[in-house]
C-alpha cells in the first residue's frame, strides 16, 4: 500500500491548519486516494498507472491548498432570508468575531477599549440629554419651576447660588411665585438602623413640597416652628429608603433615626417622584436664619414655582428689585 498520507502531507505543505484538523484532512484525502487507486487496479489498470492517476486527481488544481484554506475559513453562508437564516448568519458572525479576536488579541482589546470609551461617552451624553429634554420632570406643571440663582458681577460670576438673607427677602416680598424654597444638599451618616450608611440628604425649607407640587405618601410636612432655628429635629424619609430600612412599614411615623449622631423623628414619607434635590433620600428642615445667614455667603440654592401666567422676566425683575442683584 502506498503511503498516501505522506504524499498528501507533502502536497499540503504550508496549509497551516490546526494540528489535529490538518491530520484529519490528510487522513481523509489519503483515504480517497487509496479508494481511487484500488478502483483503478480493480478495473485492470497497472499499478504505476493507477498511482499516477490517483496522484493526478490531487494535483488537478494548482490552488488546491488555497481552496482548502478558504474552505476552512468558512465563507459567509447564503442562507434563506427567514428567521432561521438570520439566526444562522448571526451565529456565523459571532463565530468569526471570536476567531478574529483570538488571532489578534492586542488589536481586539484596543478596539474593545475604544468602543467602551465611545459607548460610555454616548451613554453619559444621552443620559443628560434624556433627563434635560426627553423625560419630563415628574412634577405637575414642570415648566413653572424656576431655578433661583444670584450673580456676583464684581467677580464676574453669573451663578453663585443663593444667600439665606436674599432668600428670606425674596420670599417675604414675593408676588410672582406660588411658593419659593431654599435648600442645601448635605450628606448624612445614617446609623442605628443596621449598619451605618452614608446617604444623600437635603435640608429644605418647608415650602419645598409646595414648590414641587408633591404630596406625601404618609405623614405631614414640616411645621413652621420646625423650620426655624432650634426647631425640633424631624425628617421626611424618601420612598426607597422607607422600603429599604423600614420595609414599607406604615408605622414608621414617630420613629427616630440617627443622622450624624443626632436623633431625628420621622414625620412623613416622600413619594417616589421626590427626585429633587439631587435624589436625596432624606429631607430635614433647613431652618433659615436671616441674621446668621448674612455670614454664610451663597450657601444654598433656590427654586420657585411661578404663578400661572407670570413670565420668567417678570419674576426676575421683581427679584432684582428686592435685593438689587
Amino acid at each position: 500500500m502506498h503511503d498516501w498520507k505522506q504524499i498528501v502531507r507533502e502536497r499540503l505543505t504550508g496549509l497551516r491548519l490546526e494540528g489535529s484538523r490538518e491530520a484529519e484532512i490528510i487522513d481523509e484525502i489519503a483515504q480517497h486516494l487509496e479508494d481511487r487507486y484500488q478502483e483503478l487496479l480493480a478495473s485492470g489498470v497497472s499499478e504505476p498507472e493507477a498511482r499516477r492517476i490517483a496522484i493526478e486527481s490531487l494535483e488537478a488544481s494548482p490552488s488546491f491548498d488555497e481552496a482548502l484554506r478558504e474552505a476552512r475559513a468558512a465563507t459567509a453562508p447564503d442562507l434563506p432570508a427567514d428567521d432561521a437564516g438570520y439566526l444562522a448568519l448571526l451565529y456565523y458572525d459571532l463565530r468569526m468575531a471570536l476567531r478574529g479576536m483570538r488571532l489578534k488579541p492586542g488589536f481586539s482589546f484596543m478596539v474593545i477599549g475604544m468602543l467602551a470609551l465611545g459607548i460610555a461617552g454616548n451613554a453619559a451624553i444621552f443620559s443628560t440629554f434624556n433627563s434635560l429634554f426627553l423625560k419630563p420632570l415628574p412634577f405637575p406643571d414642570p415648566t413653572r419651576l424656576i431655578d433661583l440663582d444670584e450673580t456676583a458681577p464684581k467677580w464676574n460670576l453669573h451663578y453663585v447660588g443663593m444667600a439665606e438673607p436674599d432668600f428670606i427677602a425674596w420670599r417675604d416680598q414675593n408676588t410672582t411665585f406660588d411658593a419659593i424654597a431654599f435648600f442645601q444638599n448635605p450628606d448624612f451618616n445614617l446609623s442605628k438602623l443596621g449598619p451605618a450608611q452614608h446617604i444623600q440628604g437635603a435640608k429644605v425649607t418647608r415650602d419645598m413640597l409646595n414648590v414641587l407640587g408633591l404630596k406625601l405618601v404618609l405623614g405631614r410636612n414640616f411645621l413652621p416652628e420646625e423650620d426655624r432655628p432650634k426647631g425640633e429635629k424631624v425628617a421626611l424619609v424618601g420612598y426607597d429608603l422607607w422600603q429599604r430600612l423600614f420595609s414599607g412599614d406604615r408605622n414608621v411615623l414617630g420613629r427616630f433615626i440617627t443622622l450624624d449622631n443626632e436623633p431625628y423623628k420621622t414625620i412623613g414619607v416622600l413619594p417616589r417622584e421626590a427626585i429633587f434635590p439631587d435624589r436625596a433620600e432624606i429631607w430635614v428642615p433647613l431652618a433659615p436664619n436671616g441674621a446668621e445667614g448674612l455670614t454664610n455667603g451663597w450657601g444654598g440654592h433656590g427654586i420657585g414655582r411661578l404663578k400661572p401666567g407670570v413670565t420668567v422676566q417678570q419674576a426676575w425683575s421683581i427679584c432684582y428689585t428686592c435685593t438689587g442683584h
Binding site: E28, H32, L58, S61, L68, E70, A74
Partner: protein, 114 residues
Amino acid sequence: MTVSVLDRELKKGSAELLVLSLVGDRARHGYEISKLIESRSEGALKFNVASLYPLLYRLEGRGWVQGKWVEKAGQRRRRYYGLTAQGRKVLAVQRKGWVQFAEAMRRITGIAYA
C-alpha cells in the same frame, strides 16, 4: 469540449446543490459522493479531490453538513457527511431556485426535457 464546458460551468453553479442532495437521504463519505456524481451524471460531471473536499469543508463550515468519523467492522475509518437541519432548509431553497431557473431557461431557449 462540450463535456468539459458542461462540467466546468454546471459544477460552478450547482456543486453545492449536488452535494447537499446526495447527503440528503443518508450520510455519505467523500469518495462515495464523488462516484455518485460521476455515475448518476453518466460521466458528465466529475469531482476530483481538489474540488470536492474544499467544497465539503466549506459546507461543513457553514453548518449545512456535518462530518463524523465512522469506523465499521472490517472497513477503514471514514468520514461520513450528513445533512444538518439548517442544511435541509438550504437544500429545499436551492432545489426550488434551481427549478425556477430551469423553467426560466426552458421558456427562453425552448429546450424541452426528455
